[in-house]
């Protein structure tokens, strides 16, 4: 492994910026975030980077590494060609705050537009419920989400078309799916998904699923079943026929 590597880091804020090269010693076993920390401690103390657990569990350090959306804490330098400068950029879909940090607050606001969990009455007089492991597991997959927003970052509807006011993106479709498929939930979100959240904008390119660090099968297990529910409720030809009659 190389002993020195160059990191070409985007520095700037909402008004603009430019790439800047930092050469730093690298050692076996380092991840990208280690290199960024080293640069920050020794060369650029005001370099802005958002991170927290550094173990792939909190989803804070999302960035684009050589053009690929990734968690910096889980990307080992040994997986990157260090003969070339390593290009580090903030996520493209969200407004830049500074350097590698973006303003992801839209995700938190958009989540509020999804109707919250509403359980059925308890199954037992002591106020508890009974659920089978198999029913729970389906939703547990979605609840693995660490809200890194990498799926939002690659979604064309958000990244290219900026439909932030009309579409909630893969992360929040997964959130809606977790609620809709929750064994205890009684709320109906299907009309909202169609009319307010425009699930129809998703054309299932599976980009989101491919970047998910938790390997959640976003499109096949969450979005497509939700689309099917929308179709069942609003576009079933037999139902439409009955409605006319």
């Amino acid at each position: 492994m190389a002993t020195q590597a160059t990191f070409r880091i985007w520095r700037g804020d909402s008004t603009g910026g430019a790439f800047q090269d930092y050469a730093t010693p690298v050692e076996e076993g380092m991840v990208v975030l280690d290199a960024v920390h080293r640069i920050q401690a020794q060369q650029a103390t005001d370099l802005a980077v958002r991170w927290n657990c550094k173990a792939g569990k909190c989803g804070s350090c999302s960035a684009e590494i050589n053009g690929s959306p990734k968690l910096m804490c889980m990307t080992r330098l040994s997986s990157i060609n260090l003969e070339m400068p390593v290009i580090l950029e903030p996520m493209h879909a969200f407004p830049v705050l500074r350097d590698l940090v973006t303003d992801v607050s839209w995700n938190f606001r958009a989540k509020l537009t999804i109707k919250p969990f509403k359980p059925r009455s308890p199954d037992s007089p002591d106020g508890t419920w009974r659920m089978q492991q198999a029913d729970v597991e389906r939703v547990q997959e979605f609840r693995k989400c660490i809200e890194c927003f990498l799926c939002q970052d690659v979604c064309h509807v958000l990244r290219e078309h900026h439909k932030f006011d009309q579409f909630i993106g893969p992360r929040l479709l997964v959130y809606a799916a977790a609620l809709e498929m929750h064994p205890l939930d009684t709320e109906d979100r299907v009309r909202d998904l169609r009319q307010q959240h425009n699930i129809g904008y998703c054309n299932i390119t599976t980009c989101c699923r491919q970047v998910c660090p938790e390997s959640i099968t976003i499109t096949e297990n969450a979005i497509i079943p939700l689309k099917e529910r929308v179709v069942d409720q609003f576009f079933d030809p037999l139902k439409q026929l009955f409605n006319i009659l």
Partner: protein, 604 residues
Amino acid sequence: MPEFQRFSYDVLVIGAGGAGLRAAIEAAASGAKVGVVCKSLLGKAHTVMAEGGIAAALANVDDRDNWRVHFSDTMRGGQYLNNWRMAELHAKEAPECVRELEAWGALFDRTKDGKILQRNFGGHRYPRLAHVGDRTGLEMIRTLQDHGIHAGMEVHMECTVLRLLLDAGRIAGACGYDREKGRFYLWQARAVVVATGGIGRAFKVTSNSWEYTGDGLALAYRAGAELQDMEFVQFHPTGMVWPISVRGILVTEGVRGEGGVLRNSEGRRFMFDDIPDLYKEQTADTEEEGWRYTQGDKNARRPPELLTRDHVARCINREVKAGRGSPHGGVFLDISWIKKQIPKSEEYIRRKLPSMYHQFKQLADLDITQEPMEVGPTTHYEMGGIRVDGDSQMSRVPGLFAAGEAAAGLHGANRLGGNSLSDLLVFGRRAGHFAAEFAKTSGVTTIDEQELQATAAAALAPFDRGSSGENPYQIQYDLQEAMQELVGIVRTEKEMQQALDAIAQFVARAERIGVVGNREYNNGWHTAVDVASLMIVSEAITRAALLRRESRGAQFREDFPGKDAEWGKYNIVVSRGADGAMQVEKIALPPMPDELKAVIEEMK
């Protein structure tokens, strides 16, 4: 003069991990106007790292379990230095808190008959931990977050609190700044709940995230609250030491349970060299007997690798200090050796330890079925914290509450696994409730504008010094080195005195910290602020550890290696003297009521 953005609440919660969110939800449910301030984005707090589960005597798996057993398990684990009232309330209320989470959407693993499944854990007599695979903390924080955002609370994300504000000795709010732009904020409040978690970042090797710099403890200390049990820092014996990027990440005890052995650089199983008398009868004499134990032979005794965590951590430390460590400053934990014992060992290891296999493969490029791991102790949890009333969670400062890892009392000298997540729920709820009650009955406070301006000026001073000042990252690094070396797992008076001298030097250096750039998301500036908190908690840990001249629970004094019954009667309390210097004193434990004594006797 810096401008302050002004907000006014009945209850201000500092910290948005499990305890903070639970407190905010409860306060909002009582009708209080609630603000939450957190250093990270919502849902990223250290609670997400918790794996094992939430300890609660639901008795879903073993119907012999009840609050009395849980209470006595907790007290025994804490070597009876626990606040007995908190241990009692915790054991009684944890089941209800777990059921509450389910009502808010949490999806725990299930028993065959559809109830919440519970698993075994060290120190708990019966299977007691409600869990979701090995990501229970994430489930908990997401449930509280998604419930909380609809419960009526204003959240100020990515803000650092600089100071708690008082009015005639009573809490009046807090001031700080946002990381995004560096704008100053005043959060006026009738009651404040500190739920800022622990102090792991005072040490070089830790399983804790960057936020764990003891801010809440330092804020409360400066505001006049007492800190208690600070000497009890839990070091888990096996954390990863290599590669550097993952130093401190936990390696589960399960590796040793499945037959993994600890060796030094000479290949020696050093755990056989030092078996405490108390455990001699229960510990294997030979490697062969130890192996049989791990394979379920009821007639065999346990291998010395499975002695208590504090002891194993100390033995590892001794080997490293004696120069018999692994290349990266740990020792070797080897599970691959079992191929000599059983066929298809690779498959067996992958099946029994899937996440460990994955963790080392992905992060260390190491196949644990073929090679030994390098492990060493890692700073994991601070049992101590802000001294509070057991029922209300209020500190001695009127209107200032604390909950979760930031509060002391529940765990005494040593925490049982699983008791932290239930701690967050039970005492987060209590703190939120009593803070809202306090706010209802207390009048308006006034803010000292001069104090606000002085706080802002002090926070901005490092910018004036710029690049000519001390590098904040370097001070933090040096502090972590010193604490790791001098106030770690094995403590002596001499080394801790050195630590105090070193901390005094860091304090002096911190006065000269300089930061470059502007106030927008400037990590250097944030580190400068964090370092101030770390120095206070580091001094508190050191002074408390110096005063306790015995070894008990997580504290091991090489110069006082035995447990001393006399010391078992006291907690150590740290507070800020009138002259600004740190005071340390021992305070007698409150007497336990007879009915609780009877419970402990009954469960012996």
